[in-house]
Amino acid sequence: MPETSEVHLAVALDGAGWHPAAWRAACARAADLFTAGYWTDLAREAEAGELDFLTIEDSLGLQRPRRCDPRVGDCSDHVRGRLDAVLTAARIAPLTTHIGLVPTAVTTHTEPFHLSTAIATLDYVSEGRAGWRPRIAPSPAEAGHFGRREFPPLTVGNVTDPDIAAHLSDLFDEAADAVEVVRRLWDSWEDDAAIRDVPTGRFVDRDKLHYIDFDGRWFSVRGPSITPRPPQGQPVVASLAHGDVPYRFAARASDVVFVTPASAEQAVQIVAAVRTAENYPERPRPSLLVYADLAVFIDEAPGAAAARKRRLDDLDGAEFTTDCAIFAGTPAELADLLLGWREAGLDGFRLRPGALPHDLQQITRALVPELRRRGAFRAGYAERTLRERLGLPRPASRYQIGAA
């Protein structure tokens, strides 16, 4: 990222927002969650605020809110159901022009080959704005949807058991292999492989198409891709990480890492831990960009956001908790917080709107102007691709002769 005083902002979209009762908020469009119009409107709002990129959550299983115990109730007061995030991003792409599109896609039960062509295609249909957030699917419920592997039961209490820790570590290793395959396939066509040479009758120069010959513990993939090298060469890979194992995964696989500090002090420690993980000897890319996740409830009037969050908590019958810090306050207070935390060495923030579209609109229409007044947010979209916006150079294909 270039040396500037500017804060980088991304937004994390999920259902009606991150609060479990967000779909019951006054602003909510609960009946529209499975329509293209809903997602397009959110993307356009994020783009109007000139945010770096949006992410879309996904999973290969049904949402199970923390409070919801299916043995007790049937969870009918929570949003359940979701659409495929990569396809949702592709549906948005032709209707936006600047914002980066970073859908989540699972590596555990899926084919790296399909993931590679899907994200490459997202890069084509968005003309260079694609990213991908790989994630693992450790639960036996999701494994049961595929019927090919048996996974041990997973609870909040047993994640530190040695067997479970090994299971999770294996899935991160598998995910790292999946990202490696995806990246090799993106490079498997050199940029100028299509030559359209009439005298020799050749459409492609086959010397510029490459077998990737990946052979790992979980799969082997021959290549080359069926999809030519995407506009960015390597679309942006971003992963969420809460500890050393996923930090190491990010260091091996990602360009951007989303972290979850509870405070500015903890952000310092986390950034240090990420940098330590980055000393992984094989990291071939520029330093990881570190974005802190923050769930946000924003209103102009002092106390209004906290009161709104409390009302949602009351509706839900429990105080909202999530895996990242939660902010409720005014745009100016949030600007203070972001500029303060940034001193920990963070490159940017991924904000998780508590309720959609309200808290997204507060980001784009109140927070962004506030940051701009302080000279901490750029004016306008200057760059064409997501990589450019993040200050990441466009790498040559690793298979190109003379490539670094």
């Binding site: 159901g81 209707l95 084919e111 295609t121 198409l209």
Partner: protein, 460 residues
């Protein structure tokens, strides 16, 4: 009763039919090309846009095939984007039942159906080949005979997933605090067959069509039977009038034993076309296009596909090989379906034809492989299309232009109005209509009914 013509628009494929040497040939991968063809098809009130798929680059003699257009997008991803630039057009994607799992594919088609307002269609194909399998963790592991069994079970699994949410499951009622209606089906499934053992919860609520339209591509006996017991439409190579009538009668006759009416399965041949102001001009343009499609290098390669041998030392402007193919030799082509059942007979026929008409290798290949399905004036092409449909040689055509992205422009401008004049093609899209409705398929037949009919006959 006058039948209405169904029209699909096939994005040009990765084969020599697609001309890339023409000055008008555009990118095969830029989204603008997909948007152009889809918008043209929608301007022409077509039923659907169609994408093929191949999951490994073709090889011949152990080398990546370099003479044809190559390189294409992920089918589902590009269709989701095309949904954003069209409003009524159906979106048909070819997706393998071999290198995928039902949960993922059901999710993707369910999502596409939501994001397009009920316009999704799935062309189910199967491939048992280990060559393509080298790109996948599953590998290539299917016996040829097993592939339609897996495909039928795969489609059935998807139908159960698509139905797993009740039609009224999403309440989204903040006053009552009910996002999902209590007690309504919300994705629970349990599917156990020979090929699959899956259970749990599906993530995508019921979509507008419930089941996307299911197409099947494959003319073999197994493929026809699969279409009869599992599909809404069949994409066939039998595009000529006589072959079409025989195929149509055969396929439609298979439906009754699965409790289906003849109208419930649409027969849709792939068809190429060339237009001209006069018949002679169309013929001339047709010859020009075929020469573009069959370069000297392509002619030798296509000859090799019959002879199954390295013929690179032959001159495309010279005579055919004097020897017969060796049918026992291992196949030199990988990544596409076997094209000739009896290569020795084909070779002898070609040699006789070449001697009789004094044809070079390239002339011969152009003669035997290149001819367009329809060649003529817009009026004659419209008449031929209509005759095939009215006489039950098919229910419509999936048109395959030879140029990206503008290959359909002229057809839409000149032939579509003539079909409309005949009263056999719509003059506007009805609003709020799903692809299933537009094709006259009616509401989705419940998965249990599909399964019961298939089980009854297959087990009998």
């Amino acid at each position: 009763m006058t039948k209405q013509v169904i029209l699909g628009a096939h994005f040009p494929g990765v084969n020599n039919h697609t001309v890339w040497t023409d000055p008008a040939a555009g990118s095969q991968i830029a989204f603008s090309s997909f948007a152009h063809l889809a918008r043209t098809a929608e301007a022409g009130l077509f039923d659907f846009f169609f994408l093929a798929e191949g999951l490994r680059l073709r090889e011949q003699r152990g080398k990546i095939h370099d003479l044809d257009v190559v390189g294409r997008p992920n089918t589902m991803t590009v269709l989701a984007a095309v949904a954003a630039v069209t409003e009524h057009l159906g979106l048909a994607g070819t997706i393998q039942a071999t290198y995928n799992e039902p949960y993922e594919i059901a999710r993707q088609f369910g999502t596409l159906d939501h994001l397009s307002g009920g316009r999704a269609a799935w062309n189910v194909v199967t491939s048992p080949d280990a060559f393509t399998g080298e790109n996948f963790r599953r590998g290539g592991y299917l016996d040829r005979g097993d592939r339609y069994v897996r495909a039928a079970e795969f489609v059935q699994a998807c139908r159960e997933l698509w139905e797993s949410w009740g039609s009224d499951a999403i309440a989204a009622d903040p006053a009552r605090g009910e996002f999902v209606r209590p007690g309504a089906g919300r994705g629970r499934f349990d599917y156990r067959t020979e090929n699959f053992g899956i259970s749990g919860h599906f993530t995508v609520p019921r979509s507008p069509q419930v089941h996307p339209v299911i197409l099947q591509a494959g003319d073999s006996d197994g493929g026809r039977e699969f279409a009869a017991h599992s599909a809404d439409g069949i994409f066939t190579r039998h595009s000529t009038y006589d072959a079409g009538r025989a195929f149509y009668a055969d396929v439609k006759a298979r439906l009754a034993r699965y409790g289906r009416s003849p109208e419930s399965l649409k027969v849709l041949p792939g068809a190429s076309f060339v237009l001209g102001d006069t018949a002679a001009e169309a013929e001339e343009r047709g010859r020009y296009i075929r020469r573009q499609q069959v370069s000297p290098q392509t002619a030798i390669l296509m000859l090799e596909q019959v002879w199954n041998a390295d013929l690179s030392s032959f001159d495309a402007d010279g005579p055919l090989p004097p020897f017969d193919p060796d049918p026992e030799a291992p196949s030199i082509i990988q990544g596409r379906a076997r094209m000739y059942d009896d290569p020795v007979a084909v070779a002898r026929k070609w040699r006789a034809l070449a001697e009789e008409k004094n044809l070079s290798i390239r002339d011969l290949i152009i003669e035997v492989t290149g001819r367009q399905t329809f060649t003529g004036t817009p009026a004659s092409v419209a008449a031929e299309i209509n005759r095939s449909v009215q006489d039950d040689a098919c229910d419509g055509f999936i048109l395959v232009p030879h140029l990206i992205p503008a290959g359909l422009d002229e057809f839409v401008a000149t032939v579509v109005p003539l079909l409309q004049e005949r009263g056999v093609f719509r003059t506007s899209y009805a609003a709020g209509v799903t692809l299933r409705d537009r094709l006259g398929l009616g509401p989705a037949r419940p998965g249990a009914a599909w399964a019961a009919a298939r089980r009854e006959h297959v087990d009998a």
